[in-house]
Symmetry: C2
Subunit: 659 residues, 2 copies
């Protein structure tokens, strides 16, 4: 390094990694842009760089061991913080090169590849945005497709094509393919409103070539009337002044402090927003107590209910196939979040491995909706009317994932009452199918959906968003308890006799193994609790958090249907599994063209012990969607979600100053 | 009338009634204070005035026939409004006099009693506030009770007593009684925190005397530590600036106009807030189309799950026994509603029949919570990123009913998407039972609840709030449809063959009679629809509204338990009945000490036809409440509700300007 230029270059390259290590705010901090570029550099300069067609499909931190993270956190919270070295900063990358899938672990401090393994199982890593983009452009230069367009009397310059994942339908040999479907804009911005029906077009992704084409039939193009989904109604007429000065939040690195909450907020290409080490202040001990070690959307499953040739394969697993972070959208102030929100950027690796900034993909704001946090009026103290209460002010962390036609608004809401509420709002544009039909015959069974505009049927489908919830309720040894409410009869022999004949009582069943941790929500009246069986309140109640479920939902597909085999976990809305660092993706890590050999329902077959263990709860927010005309040209949000609510976690309502 | 003074008095008395008739904004307008006083005057001056102990228990408009109301409304909405005389302004009053219950109908224009009928069935009208107040004071001067207090070493001046309804437990003869329970304030404002256990005290309401007294046992008084439910945390630390200038609302008399909604808002002592003739603007025809003819809370049922002597009877029916309007609380700006909300008064008749103003019992405000109304980003138009959306701005009408220890926050929320959302938030103070127990033994079956503070068990209970929803979806002939989602197998013989094996399809079942209109929510995947079978959209879809249900809940009491016999309707969460003007109160009109001979489950036994008829939907918002320590000393709100969402009611999303 006698050459000063080389030295300068080396320093310029090296220093940011050092500084990023020094400024590490938390062992679960997402990769910085410098770290992403460093990873690209290491891999590009390895033997993989010399293989043809090196593409990057997954680049994230290699999650440190939970015990190391906890030890590091604990050391920081001591009155006199001991200096503990943070866990080694490692990264995991999955790349494709020479037609193979490589799993790499990299050490960022030593600038080296720690392990390099060729994945030989079924399924493929998430598609890169570049691959999707390239595949979408192929038909426009493909002569058979151009002929199809011309023969329909359409103009190729007004055609947009959208690649869709192909699923798996029992093929013994699979390749990385996409099915590309095309739409006629005809001057409209609503691409999905006018599908060009009847064409089947397959792209081999590794070679980026069209490998199969057929033009089976034509359906009339749906008319273009009223398809524009843009609206200016409010922007024209409304003024929103919305400034909440609640307790105020502080963000230090990736650590967020607000009111009685402290949590880590990160972003990656696959899950999008991840909340880690969320802890709540105990008003008695003044210590923060852990609630949620890690939480994020683990997988989605969106099967359409049309078995015909052009539609049967539409059974998307957005997280594993595309990535929710990769699909995160820039948030619009005053539309997607209050204008006064704090907007944060995210960073992901592109298909070329280089860092890409995703601007304003997260917003954080204090919410006040006019709702009441708590209140009471007491008229039974003589001569006085005692009225009291507090408005509900909460903290919201939001992202929006736009996966093709649909937009998912994903909220983590923290409450001063100790609750964490997770909200999912669905909006966006329906997937429609062009049809000869102009008027509905009033039946629904034969069209696989609802006629929402002339010549367009919005096809029936489901949305399942499965959350990974590594709850560590006041420590990491927890149990899952079904507190069943059961009718009890008052015995005639009761002494003194009771005029009542019945009441309900709580019968608690602790799930011993994973097979007992599955729940079909709504099947029976029961509270679902995650408790710490080793700790009790001062009064002796079991310390816990309640899972308050949303709409009951489970997949209606046959157990033996291929999409259901791949997303087997959607048959139950709640699962509880033994913690295993490698088990984070409910539909399996390699979800694209997966065969159901990895994922939540497979792990749970092990039927591991889950009593007084480190456990993970999986909860599915879901919706069967039989569309209606109001969903066109864009659907108003429909909301669902769930709540994690303290249940004998605190000595009393934590909204109160304690004595 | 030669005496000028008499003439002046007569005019002073007569004119307000005239003016109120002239200023009638809607035939369903609630009684004005003048009208209430007029009713009192008419009754007081009738033969009833000479009977002993005349008390007023129900004073409301006598609801005009629906057809007359609709005709009057229609005449107003003509381009050239025809002058139709509003339906005759009549009132209904239920009074007690000489130990009997009189049902009266009065004509306000002629100042006369139209009908006068002695009610001889079982059950009694709502208790008046004066009766409850008087009963609460009786123990404090009752020597045996004073002895009990003294013998417990307590100071009678720190005792508050609260009357509770007694229910019915198979007695063949009933009288109007209250069971009075007493609490030791000991300097605290939280009356309910220290129950004086072991005493049974009965008050005969008509004679207002204690008729039975026993002091069975003593339990330690729960300690007074930390029972104060008042909090100043936010008032101290927070500033909320919350000004929404959305479309803006106008109130003309009792008619509310906001965005695309028009509805009538009234208030009475029994239901509290009632929403009537809610209609939504059709963006195509520019006409208002009816959705909800009338909606309000019809009855509540709050049974406690403790069969012992001092607790078994606590099975409240708040609407019929006390009245939600009668229990409406003055709303606190910046706590119960945004400070910028419009606050409205209500008027009820007191026990003496005279008008009482209830100040600021309703608030109306435009809500913006930071949520998204709809949004989409389109990246598939070449060279453009098209981002659009609208924030969610809705209109909220709110009241709070404080019935003893509990506070119910009751919202009607109107959305520009065409939805009506009904929200219920529960907060307030738990009913607690003093106990010897200091520490929980970790079991729950034997204590009938949860130890929430030393020596106090918060007793298990349910909340059921049943809504009367007289939906008239685009006209008053409607049907109730269960759109069941059923798994369909793809036949192996499908041509072309499909790789899929299953999908779901919609099988619609129209309820023919009332027995088919009952639903246990959550039992099977189904959308619940109220449709107008006589109308279709231009595209041919059945015009309708969807009932999106909340938490599945139904009563767990035995069918043969007395409280369940009285509230039989709580076994199903949804009922649909044929419209009958007299059928509004799900638990029966005379709910106090009722025997289950009147009410929803009884009417539905008639099994009337409900297909293509004027129908009423009854939906129960409910919660089984197994308390936890966080619910003490006051519980943070817990939310549930339901949504009425257009389903092929509009040609497309009404948020859009139509072509």
């Amino acid at each position: 390094m006698n050459n000063p230029l080389l030295l300068a270059l080396a320093l310029a390259f090296a220093l940011p990694f050092f500084s990023s290590l020094l400024s590490l705010s938390h062992p679960l901090d997402p990769l910085t842009p410098n770290e992403i570029n460093q990873i690209q550099h290491i891999i590009q300069n390895s033997n993989l760089g010399s293989l043809p067609n090196l593409t990057f499909h997954f680049v994230d931190i290699a999650e440190p061991d939970k015990s190391d993270v906890i030890r590091w956190l604990d050391s920081k919270s001591q009155p006199k913080p001991t200096k503990i070295k943070p866990p080694a900063r490692q990264a995991k990358a999955v790349v494709r090169a020479g037609g193979k899938t490589y799993e790499l672990v990299l050490d960022l401090a030593t600038n080296s590849i720690v392990s390099n393994h060729v994945y030989t199982g079924h399924g493929y890593p998430p598609l890169s945005f570049m691959e999707l983009f390239q595949a979408s452009k192929l038909p426009l230069k493909y002569s058979k497709f151009i002929d199809s367009i011309v023969s329909r009397g359409l103009n190729i310059s007004e055609v947009s094509c959208i690649p869709m994942t192909a699923g798996w339908y029992g093929e013994t040999v699979t390749t990385r393919i996409l099915r590309v479907n095309c739409f006629y804009r005809g001057g409209s911005v609503n691409v999905f409103a006018r599908p060009i029906e009847g064409i089947n077009l397959l792209v081999d992704v590794d070679t980026m070539r069209i490998t199969s084409y057929s033009d089976r039939f034509r359906a009339p193009l749906p008319k273009s009337e009223g398809t524009d989904f843009r609206s200016k109604k409010f922007a024209e007429n409304s003024i929103i002044t919305y400034n909440i000065s609640g307790p105020g939040f502080k963000i230090d690195g990736h650590n967020v402090r607000w009111a009685n909450w402290e949590f880590h907020l990160s972003f990656d290409a696959r899950a999008g927003v991840t909340i880690s080490t969320a802890s709540v202040l105990d008003p008695v001990t003044k210590n923060f107590r852990m609630v949620l070690y890690r939480g994020h959307v683990s997988e989605t499953f969106v099967p359409y209910m049309d078995p015909t040739t052009e539609w049967y394969y539409r059974t998307f697993m957005d997280i594993g196939e595309f990535g929710f972070g990769r699909s995160a959208d820039t948030l619009q102030p005053a539309i997607d979040c209050p204008a006064s929100a704090l907007f944060l950027d995210g960073y992901v690796a592109g298909g070329d491995g280089k860092a890409q900034k995703m601007a304003n993909v997260i917003c954080v704001f204090e919410r006040y909706s006019g709702d009441v946090g708590m209140r009471h009026t007491e008229i039974n103290v003589p001569g006085r009317v005692i009225r009291s209460g507090e408005p509900e002010i909460s903290l919201v962390v939001r992202m929006v994932a736009t996966v093709g036609n649909y937009d998912y608004i994903l909220d983590w809401e923290f409450k001063q009452s100790g609750s964490i509420k997770v909200g999912v709002d669905l909006t966006g544009i329906l997937e429609m199918k062009a049809t000869e039909q102009i008027y509905s015959d009033g039946k629904t069974g034969n069209t696989y959906g609802t006629l929402v505009t002339e010549n367009a049927v919005a096809v029936n489908h489901d949305h399942f968003l499965t959350y990974y919830l590594d709850l560590d309720v006041d420590g990491n040894r927890n149990s899952f308890v079904k507190a069943k409410l059961q009718t009890a009869r008052v015995p005639p022999s009761a002494n003194p006799p009771s005029p009542r004949r019945s009441y309900w009582t709580v019968v608690k069943e602790t799930a011993k193994t994973e097979s007992q941790g599955r729940v079909r929500v709504g099947a029976e009246p029961a509270e679902l609790l995650v408790v710490n069986p080793n700790k009790r309140t001062r009064l002796g109640n079991q310390i816990g958090y309640r899972l308050i479920t949303g709409q009951p939902v489970s997949s209606l597909l046959s157990d033996y249907d291929y999409p259901q085999i791949r997303a087997g976990y959607t048959k139950y809305q709640v699962w509880v599994t033994a913690y295993n660092k490698s088990e984070r993706w409910a539909g399996g890590f390699y979800a694209d063209r997966s065969r159901g050999e990895d994922g939540l329902s497979i792990w749970a077959w092990k039927n591991r012990a889950i009593e007084n263990r480190d456990i993970v709860v999986w909860y599915t927010v879901g919706l069967h969607h039989n569309p209606c005309q109001e969903d066109f040209p864009i659907m108003s949000t429909i909301h669902d979600g769930f709540e994690l609510r303290p249940a004998n976690f605190f000595e009393r309502n934590p909204m109160f100053k304690q004595d």
